[in-house]
Subunit: 135 residues, 2 copies
């Protein structure tokens, strides 16, 4: 109940954005991108590439997420069809998260970007030093 939940359903949208266009301000693709490339969205997608995890497992796996943000992030990704959620109705609760086929496709792209950054971190930090000196 946050962003684009007006009555206009996908039908109407697809008429105007058969293929998404990120450069058009009102295109829902921006919304999807924001979920996927959000601070925690990236980490969840990458984290789930290795398999199925429980909520707290996932939480422990990634440094510094609050319960709330992880839950929120997961909800968005589940809603967009990237993450599969299985809730076992037992007590204590037991919920598992994994990537859907669609989720795996995006995860590959996200991981590609993330890996590049991790591998080239030093280059970037060096560039920063230079930039900072000439200021």
């Amino acid at each position: 109940m946050s962003d684009l939940d007006q009555g206009s359903e996908a039908e109407t949208l697809s008429a105007r954005f058969e293929r998404g266009n990120l450069f058009a301000a009102p295109c829902p693709s921006r919304d999807v991108l924001s979920h996927v490339s959000s601070r925690w969205g990236v980490l969840v997608l990458i984290g789930l590439q290795t398999g199925t995890y429980r909520f707290s497992e996932l939480r422990r796996k990634m440094g510094g997420v609050s319960e709330k943000m992880l839950a929120q992030t997961l909800q968005a990704l589940v809603r967009d069809g990237f993450v599969h959620r299985v809730s076992h109705p037992v007590v204590p609760p037991f919920v598992e998260y994994s990537l859907t086929p669609m989720g795996k496709e995006v995860a590959v792209r996200v991981a590609g970007l993330a890996d590049w950054i991790e591998e080239n971190l030093l280059r970037v930090l060096e560039a920063r030093e230079q930039a900072d000196q000439s200021s």
Copy 2:
């Protein structure tokens, strides 16, 4: 003058993060990622893939950026060494932005992700509909 500008220079950081690790909370790679995957960062990188642009050209090209946010985004990308800025000292001012070699490398990844989303928007929107119904 924002996040990780303590006296500890890249030297110290590289000792602990020779290769970045996004799952470690204090790793600067998160910072870099946030610039690159930010709402406007993505659009700038993709927009500049086609060539060199002036500030207002770029601003017109992407829907809905404020002057301030574009300037801010560009500064971050310039500092990280992804974008090259050339300022011609004439009047009226004339400033051009383009991708550095390093910028081109990330841009490819970012574009890969963005393209996937644009191409598969409908699939995602459909998934959403289903998810929304069963609520």
